[in-house]
Assembly symmetry: D3
Homo-oligomer: 139 residues x 6
């Protein structure tokens, strides 16, 4: 019996989409206003889903407080009020901080941490706006 548990966290960050080997025109053509050199930003809503079997005594897959602590320490504290092109150790230099890339990078930050608490990471979902979100299931 597998049950899925999801925790939402939020962070606010700046970024731009900009390939340094490209001309301004090519960047503008591909990324539109997202290529503004002086950055822009978003309120990101992060949903992380873990799966497992509820413990017969506690009724928990894993303690949601522990899940929240992992997310805060390894993801939110690093991304919140950051510039994602400049400030974040787990985003490789030159990699575009698109929503698609972020869900993969966030997965890598927390997969092991969650395993140590007896659950399995199932999905990382990230809203950039109310109109756009990405998901990653680890494969």
């Amino acid at each position: 019996m597998t049950v899925y548990l999801t925790r939402r966290e939020r962070f606010n960050a700046a970024h731009k989409l900009w390939v340094k080997d490209w001309s301004d025109e090519k960047n503008r053509e591909m990324f539109g206003k997202c290529s503004n050199k002086n950055w822009h930003g978003h309120n990101y809503h992060l949903y992380v889903t873990v799966k497992g079997q509820p413990d017969p005594v506690t009724g928990f897959i894993m303690n949601v407080k522990d899940l929240s602590k992992i997310l805060k320490k390894h993801v939110v504290d690093k991304l919140d009020h950051s510039n994602m092109n400049l400030d974040v150790d787990f985003i490789p230099e030159g990699m575009q901080p698109t929503t698609e890339n972020l869900v993969v990078l966030i997965w890598q930050q927390i997969e092991e941490q969650i395993k140590e608490h007896g659950a399995a990471l199932h999905c990382v979902k990230l809203y950039e706006t109310e109109n756009i979100y990405a998901e990653y299931y680890g494969e």
Copy 2:
């Protein structure tokens, strides 16, 4: 061709997380403020998804009014304005009313009812707050 149809219902209930064989300290350590002896409560948002093939004449997998009636009779009328540790016949005594346990118990309440209407239950999803939800897919 399989289409999925989801209906949301809501209920407001009290509960606490508390293992009676444990000391107060151990309960507090595991469950935090959720172990308050005098209870606390939530507005629960329940999303139930059924699947099937749309009927060629009506365009329905099953009539959503019937789905809503099943949910009201077998789930919402029993949980709404209840104390989930004390008042609900389908929650076994001593089982913690965590979101994880609730989605499994709700599944068991409605799986057969939905089958009788020609559709198959696909998912039970329950929000405890805007930051926490659980899902169960029946296996």
Copy 3:
């Protein structure tokens, strides 16, 4: 490595559920107030999910602006402020514009367009109200 990207669009439309070979009573019994001869309407929220591998340079599965253009041209411009029983070329005459039927019809409108942009259509999800939505995964 597969990442999923979702774009939301919105449209407002009128419809009724009404089988012309049935009596008024039978229509009323099956469809309730949805059978009102003079129509009613909804604010529809459409979520379309595509999947693929993020491009190593742009970090995109496909450019979300292109996804939005496809949805606007092939779906939203045809449905927005329309009567879905009368005005829409891709809804066959006599087919009920239920949420279940609409997700299948919308899938057919956009599957090829998305393939041409190097991604694969994964899911069409349509909210009719905050309490009801349907999903289709193409099979």
Copy 4:
């Protein structure tokens, strides 16, 4: 001491904006896609605010169940799944069912009913979409 209490109700309806003395072109120019002859529709969210002094025994300004009953009987049952240009007795023939006109008409439907329950109507607020709403305060 004045406290304000608000109750939300919802209804789904069709309408069009169309002045019969005008040409098609003039209607199109003023009302855009809202002038589609075959109608369109919305999910309307109605917020009605009453004011008064909380009763020292019950803590109620007025019983919110009574407020909900008034709204259902005099507003929602008449508007839900209706065509607001054709079906609703309290919308004068030829008056445009804009959000601005609707809040005034709804006010007139319920002002007396609320007074009879010992509270005063304070505001009628109506969302047509998540981007547009109107309010009326009775003067």
Copy 5:
């Protein structure tokens, strides 16, 4: 020049509406399911609005972190995961914890604290569910 600044906080609590001098029948008649002896509960969303003139250097009416600290210390820490009929020092015994009474009691808890930070309390707004909220403006 007066600008208004609003901060949202959340808490989850149990309560019941029950007049001890009344019979069970009379309580049931007045309060419906809210009179369940074993309690029920809600996710409360609290919006507190202060007003003042933005400081020419900081652009702040008052530091929103200070506003949040006041709300946490004097309101949320006392109400969160509480039973509002039993556990809260600022709710008089026997006073019904209705949304209407709560906004007045919360106002009294924080009016002075906000004044000490150079702003004025303008409004306390409390959502009990997505369908019901109360507001108090201090008079």
Copy 6:
């Protein structure tokens, strides 16, 4: 008879709160993580309310399409995907782009434009996150 009409628009922008005459420590103390030198950002939700009397023929206070055009031209096109400390002509150099200052600056951008369309500006409301918003009523 006065009716109020509100239009929502959205924009995504970067900013920081930073007084250049202050030390890093003092900036950090006052503004916390908002003082990050490399910026951060938000999804802003802007609600602009105008008031007037509905036209007896059109039922409009002012055409909401015109309101939207004014907001796009004078506010959203300038702020969307901008750095509000560097890129926006109507934000004076050195003025902190706090939510409180922004609502006043936005008011000044649109008051006259709305008057020219026969309505009066009533309120500018700006959400920085789901937990914080500011309002300005012009005095």
